[in-house]
């Protein structure tokens, strides 16, 4: 496969007649961490939820334009949405463990995908938790409730839970917004490691986080893309004045 992993062309998204994203054009490359920054209500999260079609669940949602993942249009009528969502795993701003054990949280997606058998699941759970950087802390209490973990651990559990579904992409929607600096650091560390196996899109409110981990960064404003480029360039010599203003904290 060649070309961009995700190609977005003229994509707009409406909710109940209100346009949240305007005619977006951008590409995401394979095995990069693609950062998206921008003030609140700039359409960052809406864009993420367009990629795995979670927007479909919202009443009155409508889109225009196209998004192609691995070269095929994800809004084509014959697309298997369930398979699409397995391919693009998502981590939300607030960690939301399901009310069950740590083990069952990680095994959840795999079970739904029809993976059964204690041995296979055991291996998968361990592997996923290791990649998510949580194994060492929880290996002796996999059976306890996931709700008893700390916020940072819960968020790493959410990452591990995604990995167990064997996605190709990981979408992160402000994954560290509620976490302390050390937990944030741990998540960023795992992201850097995960990059070699996955393509990662990271929406963040924390511009410094994008500067730290993203290979390329896009700046969204009012539902539109202002500019996109290598992170170093966006942060040091942006083309657009609005990007510069935002990064200097003049608004947003």
């Amino acid at each position: 496969m060649s070309g961009a992993a995700i190609e977005v062309r003229g994509f707009s998204q409406d909710f109940g007649g209100v346009r949240k994203i305007h005619a977006l054009d951008l590409d995401v490359h394979r095995h990069e961490i693609f950062g998206i920054i921008g003030p609140a209500r700039s359409g960052k999260s809406t864009f993420l939820c367009a990629l795995n079609r979670l927007n479909d669940l919202v009443r009155g949602s409508r889109h225009e334009g196209s998004i192609a993942v691995d070269g095929s249009d994800i809004y084509a009528p014959d697309v298997d949405v369930v398979a699409l969502r397995r391919k693009l795993g998502m981590v939300f701003a607030t960690p939301v463990p399901l009310p069950r054990s740590i083990y069952e949280n990680v095994a959840f997606g795999a079970r739904r995908a029809g993976i059964h058998g204690r041995d296979r699941l055991d291996g998968l759970v361990r592997d996923s938790l290791e990649k998510g950087g949580l194994w060492e802390e929880v290996q002796d209490r996999l059976g306890t409730s996931a709700l008893k973990l700390s916020g940072g651990q819960q968020q790493r559990l959410c990452v591990a839970r995604i990995l167990a579904v064997k996605p190709e992409f990981i979408l992160l929607d402000e994954p560290t917004s509620g976490l302390d600096p050390i937990s944030t650091m741990k998540i960023e560390e795992s992201l850097r490691k995960l990059k070699k196996d996955y393509t990662i899109i990271l929406v963040t409110n924390n511009t410094k986080q994008a500067a730290r981990v993203a290979d390329r960064t896009a700046f969204f404003l009012n539902g539109g893309l202002v500019e996109v480029g290598p992170t170093a360039k966006i942060f040091t010599a942006p083309d657009d004045k609005r990007t510069d203003d935002y990064l200097r904290g003049k608004f947003g």
Binding site: L54, R85, R86, F92, L98, F108, I162
Partner: protein
């Protein structure tokens, strides 16, 4: 503004009043239970439970009415639970809020307000005569099921609605289908609430008299099929007391009814606690 009452006095007064109201409620409840049990327990024995009524209930036990009660209640719950939970799932998960859901909900609420004797009359006309089921466990169960339906729909709906929406989003994002989300995430979290409705319904159908007497009849024989007429314990109690056949046996029946309902509530409580611990 000047306060007329010292906050501490106010607090003390409110506390006393509320405590008294609570104590009164508990007292009334305990009084009823103790009254029935004291009058009823002398009649209780193994024979009372295991023998069929003799001589219209003057002698013998209540075995056939216990069987009738269990059959009717089980039938009603088996019919009403899937219907009610199914409706609740449809209303909350498979359709958007709109005129249709409002009409269904309004209909269910109206159904809840209809006196049970009207259900009895309706069941008599539809099931007993029109459909030709006769006075039977089938007619009685169907009638009871319709009576219970609104409660089960409402409680299930509330329980399902109280499951955080974000659980659904997470489930979908992990590649679950809608049905998997409903069965694996929504229902387990809603189950304690749903069960509350079902247990309430069990209690109501065990205690129901008016709707049952018209549809299941009052035969004292041991029922042998769905089409047998059968007397439930509450109907038996009603007839024994009303026609002055045997007050001791009437109280005995009442005691068994109360013990059964208490037992069911305690058992459900225990099972629910175990379940909640597993899912949190």
């Amino acid at each position: 503004m000047k306060r007329r009452i010292d906050p501490r006095t106010e607090q003390a007064v409110v506390r006393t009043v509320l405590w008294t109201l609570t104590a009164l409620t508990v007292l009334i409840l305990v009084y009823i239970i103790v009254f029935i049990l004291r009058k009823g327990i002398p009649a209780l024995s193994w024979e009372f439970l295991s023998k069929n009524p003799v001589d219209m209930g003057k002698a013998g036990g209540i075995f056939s009415t216990v069987v009738g009660t269990i059959a009717l209640t089980a039938g009603a719950i088996l019919i009403a639970t899937p219907l009610g939970i199914g409706t609740a799932i449809y209303l909350t998960e498979y359709t958007w809020e709109g005129p249709v859901t409002r009409v269904i909900r309004f209909g269910a609420e109206c159904l809840a307000g209809i006196p049970s004797i009207i259900f009895g009359l309706f069941g008599f006309i539809l099931f007993v005569t029109k459909l030709g089921f006769g006075w039977s466990i089938l007619s009685g169960s169907l009638t009871l099921a319709f009576m219970l339906l609104p409660t089960i729909i409402r409680t299930s709906e509330e329980a399902i609605k109280s499951v955080p929406p974000v659980y659904r989003t997470v489930s979908f994002s992990l590649g679950s289908t809608k049905w998997q989300t409903v069965t694996r995430v929504v229902l387990p979290s809603a189950l304690p609430g749903i069960m509350t409705g079902v247990v309430l319904s069990v209690g109501r159908s065990i205690g129901e008299t008016a709707a049952v007497i018209f549809t299941a009849g009052s035969a004292l024989r041991l029922p042998t099929s769905l089409f047998s007429s059968s007397r439930t314990m509450s109907v038996h109690f009603y007839i024994l007391a009303r026609e002055g056949i045997s007050m001791p046996n009437a109280y005995g029946t009442a005691a068994i009814l109360i013990i059964a309902i208490l037992g069911i509530n305690i058992l459900t409580y225990y099972l629910m606690n175990r379940f909640i611990r597993r899912y949190s």
